[in-house]
């Protein structure tokens, strides 16, 4: 699920950036530092949408670096248990398959794949129904439901299922 929230961060700026473009330098550095990171609390920071406020800088003793407290608005993505996501399959193996929904990695184990789909090993390992009409392989797009999340301080990993109504392949690259 996506959220638009305000976060705060203490930015350290090198003295060489001081000058007319100090503010622009500060913002670009913030974007470089923050976008794409993941915190267990808020999820993945997708994009910074604006700067709320930049506080007074504080010169660090000894280094000359200046610390600015910056408040910024950003879009974060945090997966939740029970959430339905669309994801791209990245790897298929005997134990199930891995998929990605943006920055989040999701594992679907083989017992959470419908019973009528069988694992086919080979050059392009895949799960296929007995009549061959539905096939899950690398780069397939699937709709899945998250049934468990593992949230570490800097990492979020999910496990999902496609064994439910309206879940499964939504766009097969082979047929497209």
């Amino acid at each position: 699920m996506f959220f638009h929230i305000v976060l705060e961060r203490n930015m350290q700026l090198h003295p060489r950036h001081f000058g007319r473009n100090l503010r622009e330098n500060l913002v670009s550095k913030l974007m470089k530092d923050v976008e794409g990171t993941c915190s267990g609390r808020h999820g993945f920071v997708v994009a910074i949408t604006g700067i709320e406020n930049i506080g007074k800088g504080l010169i660090r003793d000894g280094t000359g670096f200046v610390t600015f407290p910056v408040k910024y608005q950003c879009v974060v993505f945090r997966p939740f248990k029970g959430e339905i996501l669309e994801a791209v399959v990245t790897m298929v193996n005997k134990m199930g398959f891995f998929a990605e929904a943006g920055p989040v990695q999701i594992f679907v184990s083989n017992h959470l794949i419908p019973d009528d789909m069988e694992f086919q090993s080979g050059d392009m390992p895949n799960y296929t129904t007995s009549d061959g009409s539905v096939k899950i392989q690398k780069d397939s797009e699937v709709r899945l439901k998250i049934i468990g999340t593992r949230v570490d301080a800097t990492e979020i990993f999910c496990i999902g299922t496609i064994k439910d109504d309206f879940l499964g392949v939504i766009n097969d690259p082979a047929t497209a």
């Binding site: 134990m95 199930g96 083989n110 017992h111 009528d116 468990g148 593992r150 496990i159 439910d164």
Partner: protein, 476 residues
């Protein structure tokens, strides 16, 4: 608070879950002789018939070796079915417990008074914890059903993987760390062994994974198991629902239970059950309610026409037809209590005070002594009249009080020492105890006479009151 439904619950649970529990380690060979399956059921059944029980006693009752029993009990403690208590205690402390047991089980009373050993032994006690048993059984059923159901519809379960080499377990949440670049399997982090999915273990012993037929068979098997579980545990479920709204029998901690049991024994008027617990514990809390009865006794002195105004009032109001045994009981306790307090208060000063008062008496206050002697004589004249109805015990009592009074104050101190608790136990029993308290009271009053010169008249009256108390107890 009925224990019966809970006992039934325990018995059912024991047979359902602990029937084939063996406390032997797996490494020991199971010969026919050492096979102790079913012992868990026996022990649990035995515990339903008891409250707190010393484990040695239980072992003796069950004709089990105490080690074997302890192993079983430890298992139950881990299962949270029983609570245990260990304490280091003397032989005397063990006696408290025996007294409490006798009070609840109203079996034979422990009469033997073994000499006190200073050596401390660690004794273990155990007791069923009904409230927890109820929760444990419910939780167990819930887990069983959940496990089967989850596996049946294979939905929303986090797949578990297990390493066959080192038995390390992983969940699907660890999957990212487990994939290896070489092949399509998961590998153990520590030993790099190939992981196998864990849930297949319970129901699927069939070869050939992923076979359509096999899956169907597995589902059937699971459903079968679930049905069987429902049917076979039905009595247990029914018992659980029956017990649901009943108040849970609660024995409290070992100490609380002992105190309550001995208190209950006392209020039953169970004098023999009373003795050991009191002699060893001397519970301070319980005698308080009987203070009212003391007044009744004091007022009884007014029958002889010598009581004070207030006290006779008290008498007229509270001198009901109290059954004699009740008076005896009440007096017994309060007197003891009072005597103790006085002893404590006077103990340090008594040796000095006795000497001191003796000196005083001999030198300066002879007249008071005479007065007192006169009073004593008059009192005993009155007393003798009364004593025609009295029994032998009364005579004995009179002798004792005579000696204590006629000997003068020097005698009282020795009398008081006689009244020490330790002796009381082995002596004739209750009669002696009742006598002692008034002796202490008398001596106390006498001190008053000596020390408070101006208050001797009232002191005498009080002394007399105390003496009258003697008479009453003799009657009772």
């Amino acid at each position: 608070m009925s224990v019966e439904p809970f006992n039934k619950l325990v018995k059912l649970a024991a047979r359902a879950f602990y029937d084939d529990i063996t406390t032997k380690g797996d490494n020991q060979p199971k010969t026919g002789r050492s096979d102790n399956r079913g012992i868990a059921v026996v022990v649990l059944d035995a515990l339903t018939r008891r409250q707190w029980v010393r484990e040695e006693d239980l072992a003796k009752d069950l004709k089990l070796h105490s080690k074997q029993l302890r192993r079983t009990l430890r298992f139950f403690e881990e299962e949270k079915l029983i609570t245990r208590d260990h304490r280091r205690e003397t032989a005397k402390g063990a006696k408290i417990f025996s007294a409490a047991v006798a009070a609840t089980a109203d079996g034979q009373h422990p009469t033997k008074e073994g000499e006190e050993k200073i050596k401390l032994h660690t004794h273990s006690y155990c007791c069923l914890d009904y409230a927890q048993i109820y929760d444990v059984v419910r939780y167990r059923m819930h887990r069983m059903k959940k496990k089967l159901k989850d596996e049946l519809d294979e939905k929303n379960t986090v797949q578990e993987y297990i390493c066959p080499n080192c038995a390390k377990r992983y969940t699907a949440l660890d999957a990212l760390r487990l994939i290896s670049m070489d092949d399509e399997y998961f590998h153990c982090e520590s030993c790099n062994g190939e992981l196998v999915a864990e849930s297949d273990k319970l129901a699927a012993q069939e070869g050939g994974d992923g076979d359509d037929n096999a899956r169907k068979r597995r589902r059937e098997k699971l459903r079968d198991m679930l049905d069987k579980l429902e049917v076979q545990l039905k009595p247990l479920v029914e018992q659980l629902t029956r017990v649901k709204d009943l108040p849970v029998p609660e024995f409290g901690t070992l100490q609380a239970w002992e105190a309550r049991a001995s208190a209950a024994a006392r209020s039953n008027g169970d004098s023999s059950g009373n003795d050991p617990s009191r002699s060893s514990q001397g519970l301070g809390g319980t005698p308080m309610p009987f203070l009212g009865d003391t007044k009744v006794e004091v007022a009884f002195s007014g029958v002889e026409g010598k009581g004070e105004g207030i006290k006779s009032e008290a008498e007229s109001t509270s001198l009901k037809v109290l059954p004699p045994w009740m008076i005896k009981q009440g007096m017994n306790l309060t007197k003891e209590q009072r005597g103790e307090i006085k002893q404590e208060a006077k103990m340090d000063g008594s040796s000095v005070a006795v000497e001191f008062s003796d000196d005083k008496k001999s030198t300066e206050s002879d007249d008071k002594k005479n007065l007192q002697d006169e009073y004593v004589k008059a009192y005993y004249a009155a007393l003798l009249k009364k004593q025609q109805e009295l029994e032998e015990a009364a005579k004995k009592q009179q002798e004792l009080s005579n000696t204590s009074l006629f000997d003068g104050l020097s005698g009282t101190s020795s009398g008081r020492q006689v009244g020490m608790k330790s002796k009381r136990d082995e002596d004739e029993g209750d009669d002696v105890e009742w006598e002692e308290a008034p002796v202490a009271g008398n001596s106390n009053e006498n001190y008053k006479v000596d020390l408070n010169v101006e208050a001797d008249a009232t002191a005498e009256a009080e002394a007399e009151v105390e003496d009258d108390d003697d008479v009453d107890w003799e009657e009772g």
